[in-house]
C-alpha cells in the first residue's frame, strides 16, 4: 500500500494559492484497509429463534375449549406422542433423525383432522434431554414441509380457504415447573 510521496498535498510548495490538490492516496489506503477489516471482522451467522412458551402451573382450565391436547415427551433415547392423553405413537430416538420423519408424518396426519389446532406441548422425558433434541422436535412440530403437501383450512370470516404455513406453531415447553 502506497503511503507514497507527498505529491501536491494542499499546496505543499507553500504557495497554496488555489491550485493545491488533495492527496487522496492516504484516503484510498484507509478505504482499502477498512473494507477487508469490516468484511473479516463481521464473521457472523444468521441466527434465528424458536419461540417457546413456558408452561406454568394453572388452577383453572377453560372447559369451553374443544379438547385437543397434543403432547410429545422426548428423552435422549425415546419419545412418546400423545393425543388427548392417549398414546398415539412411540419412537426410538436415533442420532440420524430417522425417527423424526415418522414423527413429522404423524403430526401432519393429526393436523389434517385438527386444522384449527395450533398448539403442541413438548416435555423432556428426562433431565438428560439435550437442547438439541428439544430444538429438533420443536422445529419438526412447527414446520410444514413442501413434501407434506398443501393443507388448507377454511377461514370463517372470509369464507376462503387459507393455505397453512405451519403445523403446530405454538410450542409450549412443559416440565420447567414440575
Amino acid at each position: 500500500m502506497a503511503f507514497g510521496k507527498k505529491q501536491g498535498h494542499f499546496g505543499g510548495d507553500g504557495g497554496g494559492h488555489g491550485h493545491g490538490e488533495l492527496m487522496i492516496t492516504p484516503l484510498l489506503d484507509l478505504f482499502v484497509a477498512l473494507i477487508p477489516f469490516l468484511i473479516l471482522s463481521a464473521v457472523m451467522v444468521k441466527i434465528n429463534v424458536v419461540d417457546v412458551a413456558v408452561s406454568k402451573p394453572v388452577s383453572v382450565i377453560k372447559k369451553s375449549q374443544k379438547p385437543f391436547n397434543l403432547h410429545v415427551k422426548v428423552g435422549p433415547t425415546q419419545a412418546v406422542l400423545l393425543l388427548n392423553k392417549g398414546v398415539k405413537a412411540r419412537y426410538t430416538v436415533d442420532k440420524e433423525g430417522v425417527w423424526l420423519e415418522k414423527f413429522h408424518s404423524d403430526l401432519v396426519a393429526i393436523k389434517k383432522v385438527n386444522l384449527d389446532s395450533m398448539e403442541i406441548r413438548v416435555e423432556p422425558l428426562s433431565d438428560k434431554t439435550s437442547l438439541d433434541t428439544l430444538m429438533t422436535v420443536m422445529d419438526s412440530a412447527r414446520r410444514l414441509k413442501k413434501s407434506d403437501g398443501d393443507i388448507y383450512r377454511l377461514d370463517e370470516a372470509n369464507k376462503e380457504k387459507v393455505k397453512l404455513k405451519f403445523l403446530f406453531p405454538k410450542v409450549i415447553l412443559r416440565g420447567v415447573y414440575s
Binding site: G8, L28, L38, A42, V49, V52, L131, D132, D139
Partner: protein, 159 residues
Amino acid sequence: MSTFGFAGKSKRSFSGGAELNLTPMIDMFVILIVFLIKSYSTSPTYLTPTQDIELSQTESEEGAPDKPALIVGRDGLILNGSTIVSFQDGKPSSQYLRTSVIPELRTVLLKLKEVEAEFTGTLILQADKGVEFNVLKPILKTAGAIGYNDIKFAGVYKE
C-alpha cells in the same frame, strides 16, 4: 454520488498522458463502507456467534429480535459480555440444580428489566446444543419468576 469530484485530477500521469479517474472507485468505496457499517450495526438477526458454544440448527425463519441474549455456555451464564454464574464441568453447582433458582441471574435480570424501555418479557437463550434440560430448568424458572416468559431459543438458520 460524486462525493470526491476532484479526486481524478491527479498530476500523476502515465506515459501516454492519460489520467486515472479515481472518482467512481472512491464513490463505490463510500457506498460499500456505508452498507457494511449499516448491516453490521443494525441487524439483530446476525448475532455474533460466541466462542465455545455450538448452537442447534433451526429451520425457523423468525429472526432474533433486538432483545437481551443470555448465553448458556460450558463455562457459565453470560449476559452482555459479563459472566453471571460460572459452571463447573458444563453445569451450574448442584445447589442451583436442586433449588431450581439462580439468585445471581435473578439480580441481573431484575436490573435489566428496570433498564429495558419496553419490557416485553422476551429473553433470547443462546445455549449450547449439548446443554441438558436440568441446566436449562433453573434458568427458565428464574427468568419466568421475574416475568421473562417469552423465551426464544437461538439456533443457526438451516435452509
